[in-house]
Symmetry: C2
Subunit: 459 residues, 2 copies
């Protein structure tokens, strides 16, 4: 397929050092953070300019080479697993912040900019880019926009989608397409921005992204509520929101996760607790203090044995960085970790927590549950060993059961991890044949040769 | 085209009283709020259930009858002007609020629910649906979602797009399609919700809409800053935002508009002022009071001769209802009113105000300017008489000039009124051939017979 002429054509505009064909190099990009079989691509391309990116897309399409764009590969749905006869296009050399506009509060970035790098850069100017996926210290903004990544602050601040004002991207022919604007309001033409966010590299390849920024909140306060009964903790979540208090984050950790995190991070978490709620409030100082008092009493009234308030930013950071280590902490316990992402309307969190316990017991599996309870987005995490085929059968059944319960509770298959390969085959459970047909018509019209990340979302 | 058999087929599932073929009835739906030539449709259909709506769409497609769905027809871009051989489908009988979920803070509505009706219903429960287009007392939510309507609160709260969690709609074959979810986070499948918002009835016909609600702000405060120099007023807009204060609304009115509004509403506006800023802050009481003090001093430092604070809700409502009457007030002055919607990044508001003054002088036209300065969305409003063909030529040149200046300032053709017929031919100025081609591919794939509101957005 990839003959020497074509490879030398790629080398011509990318530079020889940015065209990787060595098997060892290619194997590096055969998998991502999802538990799926690796697929070694035929070639890896690393454009160093938007122009070269567009040329690479065009050449792939002309030669019918399926292409998968990859940021940091931290997605958990197999979105960056390539095709065996395909190319992986790396965005790590397209990592410039092109503009931070303080007056109009937006940033323009190349897709390979690391999420935390932008967040830190705008914070220096008193601005805030809220989306904070768990992998923010390595994940890229291009990847976040492709997957419509969420994070801990979704409850108050929304997800990546809510911050994308515009995208410049290449269609499958390498033709530039511009959508959205640097203005807060834009009702011109179709909202292609909306369609491209979360399209997982299947409809177009991002060149530049315009992201909305907001003023940095003046004040923060973090609380930890310790519960001896997991159900009291889950019921407290909805009670907080019912008070019309919207914390920036409202995280839930069960005992299994607390123990794993404490082992890993030594942050001083109460390992005997049945569950913890970690709550951060932000905004005006007076509002934060008032809300913190209300939330603390509410937690106590609903059964919390203690409510600790972080004394200073250092203590607050210690707890949050412990929470952020949950995935790594759990991953140390067993060879294979399946982090699920089923999401329910937040009032159904108690039902979902109960359902996960039942599923864990019914299938004899270790499941740690933590996540963004405030927005209904829990991460039941199954610890297993994929080589154990008998156990793996039970794992698959448990995953099905988790999805079925989430959907029965009015939820969705994925809150923030995307569809990718992992959820593609479940899509019909949540949507309808009409939805899949409609989606396929769009995909076929925009990518008739199935070049753009084939096999993702709608297969 | 429409023979008796087909008409009786429509009557069969819609009921005879909901199929209008009388010329007088049909003429009622020949125009909307945009200044464009009326087009009388061949038939008007009024489904009273979602099922009947789907059947009507299917039958139109099968018989190649172009269909235009109409809420209240308040859009200003010709989005509801039908085809002469087409059908108008009215949504006014699909006007039920199906659910208001307090715990999970969302509402499910049929498309014909009036915007203000939902806003009032959720306010009774301490919740808030922020999008407030000028026509909210008559406009429908289906129309708002079709046009991605904005409003006065866009600066702090965003536009309609930011509140649509999911849509159930019919594709051109009348097949139901479900997108989005009742959960805050949803990353499953393509973000068809994003694509459908603002698609102006050209990609699918809404059956049910899930809208996000937020807690009602606890406190409001309204200020009126009076300026003797229009440029000082426009420069104050960016200065407020530069202080990292985000008012709920930050409205600008020039002297021309102030006079028209005062004539019409007798609200006690200062008719000698060169310009006014109307500012409303909301949130926690302490924050609102602090911000109000800061904004007031800022306005005074930048040249405001007076800053009035509304004493009570009654005074506040009086000023806002005066502001909301601007369009009607200006419409009384001349036979034809062209309300433009060009939008710029907010820091360019002073340049845009200057540009409008120059264009008004250069073409010898009366242009009143008002609008949502805080989000860069001004409404320069040309007063004219369309029967005066010489003046009309100058009007068309002035509109072109306004668009060109907005785009040169990094803006967009439409902040909140949509593309419709009115902006369709200008689209290429803002976007690129690639964008239009990409959009056309989507449209052709989803509506191969050009049945769904043909002629809108991309022609």
């Amino acid at each position: 397929m990839l003959d020497a002429t074509l490879i030398s054509e790629f080398c011509g505009f990318l530079g020889k050092e940015n065209v990787l064909t060595d098997p060892a190099d290619r194997f590096t990009y055969a998998y991502d953070a999802a538990v799926l079989d690796p697929v070694v691509p035929e070639i890896v391309l690393r454009p160093t300019s938007g122009k070269a990116l567009g040329q690479a897309v065009r050449l792939c399409n002309e030669n019918r080479i399926p292409l998968t764009v990859r940021g940091a590969g931290t997605n958990l749905s197999g979105g960056t697993i390539p095709k065996a006869n395909g190319a992986v296009i790396l965005t790590n050399a397209l990592n410039r912040i092109l503009e931070i506009n303080e007056a109009d509060m937006y940033a323009v970035v190349q897709p390979g900019v690391v999420t935390a790098t932008l967040a830190a850069a705008v914070e220096k100017k008193g601005l805030f880019y809220p989306p904070d996926p768990g992998s923010q210290s390595v994940s890229t903004l291009g990847g976040n926009v492709s997957e419509n990544a969420g994070g801990l602050r979704g409850l108050k601040y929304g997800v990546t989608r809510d911050y994308v004002m515009g995208i410049q991207f290449f269609d499958v022919n390498g033709q530039p397409v511009k959508t959205g604007s640097r203005t807060v309001k834009c009702a011109t033409g179709y909202n292609l921005t909306g369609l491209l966010v979360g399209s997982e590299g299947t409809l177009g390849i991002f060149d530049e992204i315009i992201l909305k920024l907001i003023p940095l909140p003046a004040h923060q306060k973090a609380l930890m509520a310790v519960f001896d009964d997991i159900h009291q903790a889950s019921e407290t979540v909805a009670a907080v929101i019912a008070e019309r208090i919207i914390p920036a984050t409202l995280e839930f950790l069960d005992n299994f996760t607390i123990r794993a995190v404490e082992d890993y991070s030594r942050a001083g978490l109460p390992v005997e607790a049945a569950a913890l709620l970690l709550i951060e409030l932000d905004g005006h100082r007076v509002q934060v203090e008032e809300d913190a008092d209300k939330v603390a009493s509410l937690c106590r009234n609903l059964g919390a044995s203690t409510v600790r308030v972080a004394k200073d930013p250092a203590e607050r950071d210690k707890v949050w960085s412990a929470r952020r280590s949950a995935l790594s902490a759990l991953a140390k316990l067993k060879p294979t970790l399946i982090l699920e992402d089923a999401t329910v309307p937040r009032s159904r969190i108690p039902d979902m927590v109960r359902a996960i316990q039942e599923i864990s017991a019914a299938h004899g599996l270790a499941i740690g549950t933590f996540g963004h309870a405030g927005d209904g987005n829990l991460h039941p995490t199954i610890l297993t060993d994929r080589r154990n085929t008998e156990e793996w059968t039970r794992v698959e059944k448990a995953i099905d059961a988790i999805f079925d319960r989430a959907l029965a509770l009015g939820g969705t298959l994925s809150g923030e991890h995307g569809t990718g390969i992992a959820k593609s085959r479940y899509l019909e459970k949540e949507t309808s044949p009409g939805t899949i047909l409609y989606s396929r018509r769009i995909k076929a019209a925009l990518d008739p040769n199935h070049i753009l990340n084939p096999g993702k979302i709608i297969g």
